[in-house]
Structure formats: C-alpha cells, structure tokens
Amino acid sequence: MAGFIFKRLLQAIFVVLAVTLIVAFAIRLSGDPAIMLMGGGNVTEKDLENIRQALGLNRPFLVQYLSFLEGILTGDFGKSFMGGTPVSMLIARALPATLLLAFASLITSIILSVPLGIYAAVNRGRWPDQLIRILSLVGLSFPNFWLAIMLVLLFSIVLGVLPPSGMEGPESFIMPALTMAVILTATNVRLVRTSMLETLSQQYIMVARSKGLRDRVVLYKHALRNSAIPLVTYIGLQFGGLIGGIVIVERVFNWPGMGTLAFDAISNRDYPVLQGTITVLALFIVLINLLVDIAYGLIDPRIRTE
C-alpha cells in the first residue's frame, strides 16, 4: 500500500507540473496584461514596456515559468497584477468557500442518489423505477446556469426566503449547492441503480437472503458496499467536472470562491492569480483521485492485496 501511494504521489507531481506548464503557456497566448492594466487609454509603447519590466514579463517564458515553480515550493504564488495582493492570500480566502460548496453539493447528491438508486434497482421496471429514471433524465437536461437563475427567481424574488447571492450564513448555501447537486444526483442515481442491479443478481445476495437477513441488511450491508466501487470512481471523476461547473454557479450566485477568482483573473489576464488558482485546483483534483484509489482498497479487500 505504501509503495502504491508513493507511486501515485510521483504521478501526481507530474500531473500538476504538466497542468501548470500548459496554463502558464496558454494564458500568455491570450493577450498582453500590460494593455489591460493601462485600460487601453493614451499609452506609449514606452509605458507598456515599463509595466512589463515591473511585472517581470519581459523575461523569457521559461525563466518566468521556472520562477513561478520556485515560488510554489516556498508557498509564494506571486502578487496579483491588479492591486498587488499576494495570490496566496486571495486563494486562502476563496478556497474554503469553494470547497465548502463542492462538498455540500457532493454530500447532498450522495444522500439523495444512494437510496433513490437502490430503490429504483429493487423496483426494477415498475413505476418507482420509471419515475426515478425520468426525473434523472430531466435533471441531466437542465443547464446549471439556467437552473440557478430559476432557483433565484423562485426562492429569492417570488418567495423571498433565500438570499439571491453572496456567502452569508448557512441558508446562502442552499441554492448554489442544490444547483450543483441536481446534476450530480441525476447521474449518480443511474450509476447506483445499474451497479446495484448488477450486484443484486450475484449469488451471494441470494445466500444472504437464504440466511434469513432482512431486506434492509441485504441491501445496505451486503449489496451496497459491492456496488460502491463504480460510484466512488465516478465521484472522483466528477470532482474535476464539479470544479468546472462551480465557475459558472459561483458567477451566478456571486460566490466568493475559486471560480470567481479564476474567472476574473482570465478577464484581466492576471497571470499570477490564474496560475495560482489553477495549480491549487489541480492539486485538489489529483488529491481527491488519490483518495479515491485508497478508498478502493478500503471498500474491496480484493484490491487491497494486489
């Protein structure tokens, strides 16, 4: 197991390196931050050159990239081009907001999708199954920004029960988390259902029934753990997509998270902030997937011994 984790950590370092390299390179193709900073007014080439000099942008790309990497090792992501705030401080403020939102929606989706998926599997082909599958299709079909706006219309404007934006108090979590959770639940329900159907047809489930165990024990003890591997795999994969989706949802709800930070950084060509946020998010995605691999072993002893 230790060897396995070590191997995965090595892989993780390469993944993060690759991500930072691509991001640093790609953003430099998108335009000159100096022009953005000057606001496009009456500037001479000399002024722009001075700014580039001040920001260190006149150095060769490789030198800029290596100094960025050097900074990462010491926890220093540089300073924002806009206002000079250290990037690490911006991230420290935005990361908890995003992680809280991500986990809130993930947990909501698990709480909803596992029982629903199991219920659909047990009632395969009957109306509860049909209903759950139709609802899941509906959930999959909503674009999340549209869903977010509809929620705001309903709960904030018509009913006036929830704050339309910002992160203040637990109730402000409800709409953004729900928006994200709907699409996650819609896919996870199908996954749990399919995986449960597969497990329920196994011989050991019949053996468990022949022992006189209650349905609940058969389903939640004997079947669920065997069905969990695909779900856990998918949640690991979803996490990447979740981060992508969060950018949009954070915009709609004006959520002070990594998505908003990254979005603004792209708009302003704020290299250090963008590089910093993407690196940190990539680290998290890699970390989550490492946890998923470890979770496999905890769930299934057959993987543990390999």
């Binding site: 029934r209 165990l213 002893p301």
Partner: protein
C-alpha cells in the same frame, strides 16, 4: 395405505402440488408443475434433472426465495414440520416467520462457491452473521462458534481463516466455508443446489464426504439438487427425477438405477458416462444414445469401434513444451513470481487419434491447448506439426497452421458472436483463410457443414440465441471444421452440456473423426468421458504429465498415485457399488512459484510399451 399415511405425517418437509411460474398472463412460463415429494428427517433426497427441468427453481421455492427471482408460486403447499409437530405452510407463512426459518431451520448451499460468499466481508464475519441473527450470540461468542464450525468442515488453521476474505481461498475451501455457514444453526433441512458441480473431482469427493459425515452427526435431512447421476448414487436415499418442470419418477435410489420406470429416466441413465463401462476394450466405441422423442426414449446411432488411429507418423509432436507466465512484480517492475503452467511436457498425436489431456484446475492442460493454437507464446520446447517446427515457421506458415489446428471452446454460449448469423460465424474461417472465393460455393459449404453436425441448412440464417446449448456446440464444431483442420483441440467442449446432449456430441465428434480422419486433443477433467472417447490418455498434474498411456493402461492399470487418486474420486453412477475406502485429502497445490524456485522435472519410466509413468519420490526412496 396406513404405512404411507404414517410416513407422510413423519415427513420433515412435504411438498404438495407445487407450481411455480415466471412472468404473468399468457406469457407466463411454468417452471415447476404440480410437483410433490416428502423429505424424511435425517434422509437425503436427490432431485435430478437436466437444465430447464425445474429442479433449481423447486429448491428455491421451498424457502420462497423464488420471490426474489421474479418467480411466483402459483399453487400448492410446502409443509414444514421443524419439531415434528404442527406443520407450517411456507407458501403462506409471513415474511417475518420465513426469515426465522431461513438459515435457522432450513439452510441452503449453492452451486458456485466462487460467487456465493460476499467478497467484501471476512469469512468469520459471514458465518457469525447467521449465529448473531438466529441464536442471539454476541460477536465474541459467534466468532468462537464460527471457528468450531470451520474445524468441523475440516479446514486447517481455522483461527486465521476467520479473518480471511473469500478471494484468498480456493473454490473447495470456499465451499467448505459455505457448508459451515449453512450448518451454523443446526438446521433440520439442508438444501444443496449442485454444491460440487463447479469443483475439481478430488475436491468434490472431499466435499461429499463432509456433507455425508455432518449429516450423520447432526441428523440433518438433505435435499440434493444435481444433474450428476454419479453423485446421486453416492449420496441419495431417495430420488426424484424431474423433466420439463414435472416430477416423472420417484423411488429409492437402488430402484431408480436398477429398474427405472419412466422413459426419460431410462434415457438419462443410458446417457450417463460410467467409469469402467469400457473395461477390457482396446478401442473407444460409439454406442447408441437414448433420445426423448415425443415422450418415448428412442435409441439413436449404432455401435462402432473407433479404429481410426494411424500410428505410422505423428501429426503433432510436442517436446519439452514449457509455458510460464510472470505474475507479481516488485515496485521496480522486477518479476517476483511465475505461474509454471506447463513444464517440459512431451507427447505425440497421430492422425485419426484422440489424445485426452486430463487433470484438475491449474494442471496446465488448457494452457497446452492455447499454446498449440498460438494464443499463448511458449517459454521453451518445440512443437512440430506435420514434421514442421512451429518456431521456424514464417508468418504465412503460422497462419496456415491456424487453419490446420482448430479449437472448440468450453462455453458454446460465449464462443459465438451474438450479433452475427450462425452461417456467417461458420463461413468466417473459410473467408479468413481464403479457402473458397466464390460466395455461392461458400454458402453451399456452410450448409453442408451444418448438415454434417446434425443441423439444417436453413439454420444458417439464424442467430446464436435461437439455439439451445447443445445446438450451439454443434455450430462451434461446424465452425471448427470449416477450414478443414487436421487437428481439433476440444477444451472441455462437452463439460457444460447436459448428459444426454453430451453423449450425442461425443458421438458426433467420434463420427466426424472416422469420416475425416481428424485428430483430437481432448482436454477435460471428466474421467468417464475420457474413457469413452480417447485412444490414449495423458494425466497432468501441476504442469507436468505424470502418466501417459493407452486408455486401457490408464484406466485398468494406473501406476501413478495421482492417477489412482483421480480415478478413485470419480463418483460412480451405481448405488450398489462399495464406496471407495481411500480417503481423499488435501488441496490442489498452486503452480505459482517465486522466481528462482523452479519445480523439479519428473523423470518418466516406461512400465509397459507406450505406458509412461513419472517416477515418484516415494518409489525413489524405496529403491535406495
């Protein structure tokens, strides 16, 4: 009359006019029709039948487990008298009452030991679960009791086994765990659904012994579901024969074998390959098979001696063939363990001859077949086909060899592409090898092949799912013959078939051998089938041949201790016969070894012309 009434009232379980259906309305499939039988306390009732006979559904319906498979009990009663008192009708019992009975008064063992234990819980945990549920033991008490149970089913090192997971155990060990689990609460009735079918024959013998011993010790009644008449003869007191969902015969075991009443029972018994049936005969022999035709058993085929082998020049020469696979690597990718699947195996096959390769799991018999078919690269040794060295062959010659050596797999369900017509599957080898360019000519050839294997030309347009298992295996044979091979490797090709179908396929293979002078490498674990079909036999154990000789030499004068053990383990379909005195013990060892620990290669000794036996360590010591 009064005697019969008495018996009935004593019965532990009385199944009365039980019917089970799947689906509803007009499309309902009646799997079990009006079946009745009694099980007496402490006795064994065997329910025999072929696939689709309804025997397994019956066994599930007793505890109403059919509820979970989409089945419905449409009529009848299942009267259970746990304490000889008032009978409970399990068909009408409440779910709560049923749960009290399941696993406590009635327990069940299933066919597939590999899948009947939950992979994510420890063995101890799974046995303890029943004890905690039904006996109200706490965790610690249940664990102690689970350990006792593991010792009872003769599993060594019970303490450590408790914390093992199912995948760490062999099939035989898992089935013992399953038995321990089933017997945990001292059930009055044990339902065993094909409990040894998936096991190797020496392991089967041990499991049957354990069930028999524990039954005697605990006074458990057993319903033994099986298709194997040999197992029936060894285990049963009474027999119920099922056919197409109905009970067609019920009698004490001796009567069923001595004087079968129903034509189906007679057909079934005539199809059962019986070890020792060909004693004294030098050649394999085709014999008529009884086939059910509109309610009567009719003999099909005649008696022919299989005098087809031509011993002048071998078609295949295998010399010191070795095939190993790397498994287990260190962090840096260094190989730590290897599967020594085949170790320096040598044999010849002659034109028109059937050489049987017999052995249990891990003996390497299938790997030899795959190596010859070039599905696996050999690690060492030479293979000559028609005098040509396989290793020295060009790509084109190797392709040609794939045409001359064909393969028939075990599972006729998995080895035909479900999305192609049967005709296409048969024509494919002809196209691939460019044998017939003209498409009309090719269609004619496909039709001809279908007729040769006993099917009809119009079947070519159908898809595999429209055929039964036996028909599919015929299609696989037609496909194998399509490229005009000289050697056919049949890897457990009849093992998955019902005995009556099996007997017909064996006859077909023998008939084709005579017509086309085919050579067969017949890979199987079934000794009785081997005795019927083969000219010569090679017995494999742990990747090496331990005995090789003519069929008579192996069956009538076995020399190696493993051959003897294998023969002794085969259940014989004859209840009159004394049970073998030899107690078979021990697991089949693993062919996986750490790198550097090579297995010792047996030296072979010719005890009679053409009869080779590996020299055993014991006899070596004896000589010294």
């Amino acid at each position: 009359m009064s005697d019969k009434a008495n018996r009935q009232s004593e019965a532990l379980l009385s199944v009365r006019s039980l019917s089970v259906a799947f689906g509803t309305g007009d499309e309902a499939f009646k799997a079990v029709k009006d079946v009745s039988f009694d099980v007496q306390p402490g006795k064994t009732l065997a329910v025999v039948g072929e696939s689709g006979s309804g025997k397994s559904v019956t066994s599930l319906a007793i505890m109403r487990l059919t509820d979970y498979t989409g089945g419905r009990i449409t009529g009848g009663q299942v009267l259970f008298r746990p304490d000889g008192g008032e009978a409970i009708d399990l068909v009408k019992a409440s779910d709560a009452r049923l749960r009290e009975i399941r696993g406590n008064d009635i327990a069940m063992i299933f066919q597939e030991p590999m899948t009947s234990l939950n992979p994510v819980f420890t063995v101890g945990n799974q046995i303890a679960e029943t004890l905690i549920l039904h006996q109200g033991l706490n965790g610690r008490e249940a664990r102690l009791r689970a350990r006792d149970l593991l010792q009872k089913v003769r599993l060594p090192d019970a303490d450590r086994l408790l914390d093992r997971y199912p995948h760490q155990l062999s099939g035989g060990m898992r089935q013992r765990v399953m038995i321990a689990m089933a017997l945990a609460c001292n059930p009055k009735l044990l339902i065993a659904d094909e409990p040894t079918t998936a096991l190797d024959v020496t392991i089967q013998a041990q499991i049957l012994n354990i069930i028999r011993d524990l039954q005697a010790e605990m006074g458990t009644a057993v319903i033994f579901i099986t298709h194997d008449m040999g197992v029936v003869a060894e285990m049963a007191d009474d027999v119920v024969v099922m056919w197409k969902g109905e009970k067609v015969e019920q009698a004490p075991v001796r009567d069923v074998f001595a004087a079968p009443q129903h034509p189906y029972t007679r057909a079934l018994l005539s199809a059962v390959p019986r070890l020792g049936a060909f004693t004294g005969q030098p050649l394999p022999k085709r014999t008529p098979v009884m086939v059910m035709d509109g309610g009567v058993a009719k003999p099909v085929g005649g008696t022919h001696e299989q005098d087809t082998a031509d011993y002048t020049k071998p078609i295949l020469q295998v010399e010191k063939l070795t095939t190993r696979f790397d498994v287990g690597k260190t962090f840096f990718g260094r190989v730590t363990h290897r599967v020594h699947a085949v170790e320096e195996v040598s044999f010849d096959i002659y034109p028109g001859e059937t050489l049987a390769l017999v052995g249990e799991s891990g003996s390497g018999k299938s790997t030899i077949g795959r190596t010859l078919q070039q599905l696996v690269e050999p690690t060492g040794g030479t293979v000559r086909f028609d005098g040509r060295d396989m290793e020295a062959m060009s790509q084109a010659e190797r392709r040609r060899l794939r045409q001359e050596i064909q393969y028939i797999f075990q599972d006729p369900f998995a080895s035909l592409d479900p999305r192609h017509t049967v005709g296409y599957s048969i024509a494919e080898p002809i196209i691939v090898h460019g044998l017939i360019k003209d498409s009309k000519e090719r269609t004619r050839r496909v039709h001809e092949l279908l007729e040769q294997v006993g099917l009809q030309p119009q079947h070519a347009k159908r898809y595999p799912h429209e055929f039964s298992g036996g028909q599919r295996q015929r299609i696989c044979i037609a496909r194998a013959l399509a490229s005009n091979p000289k050697l056919v490797i049949a890897d457990e090709s009849v093992s998955a078939l019902d005995v009556s179908i099996q007997a017909q396929i064996i006859n077909l293979l023998m008939e084709l051998q005579e017509k086309r002078r085919l050579s067969y490498l017949f890979i199987t674990h079934d000794m009785a089938v081997v005795e019927k079909i083969s000219h010569r036999v090679a017995v494999m154990y742990l990747g090496q041949i331990v005995e090789l000789g003519s069929r008579r030499a192996i069956f009538e004068n076995p020399q190696h201790s493993y051959t003897r053990k294998l023969l002794a383990a085969v259940p014989i379909a004859d209840p009159q016969r004394e049970r073998a005195k030899v107690r078979i013990e021990g697991e089949i060892p693993s062919p996986v070894r750490p790198v550097g620990q090579e297995p010792a290669i047996h030296r072979m000794r010719e005890v009679a012309p053409g009869h080779w036996v590996a020299i055993e360590a014991d006899s070596l010591r004896g000589a010294a």
